[in-house]
Subunit: 112 residues, 2 copies
DNA sequence: TCGATATTTCCATAGTTATCGAATCATCGG
DNA sequence: CCGATGATTCGATAACTATGGAAATATCGA
């Protein structure tokens, strides 16, 4: 993953509504969530939501599919993992991920 | 870690020069790097570098100390781990960190 | 104290991003 | 085909971010 792509992903997530939308999409899993539903849940006008979803899509963090009149968005886990990979490798250098750092703490907490 | 803080950290990293600076600081470890050295390495005017470092500091990702005439910046690993924590917990939900996801892949690669 | 060095603050400016109503496009049911 | 529904695109505007030179601040050595 190049720095340029990483920056686009970070920029995409660095916004209140987009971070919130992405969290919901991650929770929703494969099934995804329609644009209108996201707009309603986040109390954002449809055109604004569309703008934000386009940013997330442009960053490769979400994919979309049409289902009748709705457009369903879903999180792209591999893109997110690519981002985590980059951050772990380049920005967590001093405290590698296998000891007491974030990722592992989470992993343990999760399986506990 | 609240969403607000997370967004500030993501915004801070979502910029070419700041991401590059932070990577260097992570590599440098406790010792840190002086503002002027960073400016020179990244080929950015001193005042611009100062601006970017202020953003990183504001996000809590770096700390600074004066050492004679220089101001030495160093990465705050715990803040970065806090960010990783949040992302793992909120944005990697579907594929928890203990299986094939980024963090663990990294951890294994690192200790191998 | 003076001059040099390291950095930040100030300021103007250019560029980018967010917002949201209105217009447009796509799909469906009848 | 028509009206309704779900979504995007357009366009204007406001807000924020990045840039970099000049001035100000802090520290040092002599």
């Amino acid at each position: 993953m190049h720095a340029e792509v990483v920056i686009r992903a970070l920029s995409a997530l660095a916004q209140e509504h987009r971070l919130a939308a992405f969290r919901l999409l991650v929770q929703a899993g494969e099934e995804g969530i329609a644009a209108g539903v996201l707009a309603e849940k986040l109390e954002v006008p449809a055109s604004s939501m569309s703008f934000h979803l386009a940013q997330l899509a442009n960053a490769g963090l979400v994919s979309q599919r049409r289902e009748s009149r709705s457009i369903i968005y879903s999180a792209d886990y591999s893109a997110m993992n690519g981002l985590m990979d980059y951050l772990t490798e380049n920005c967590c250098g001093g405290i590698p991920c296998g000891e007491d750092a974030a990722c592992n703490t989470e992993a343990k907490r999760r399986t506990a």
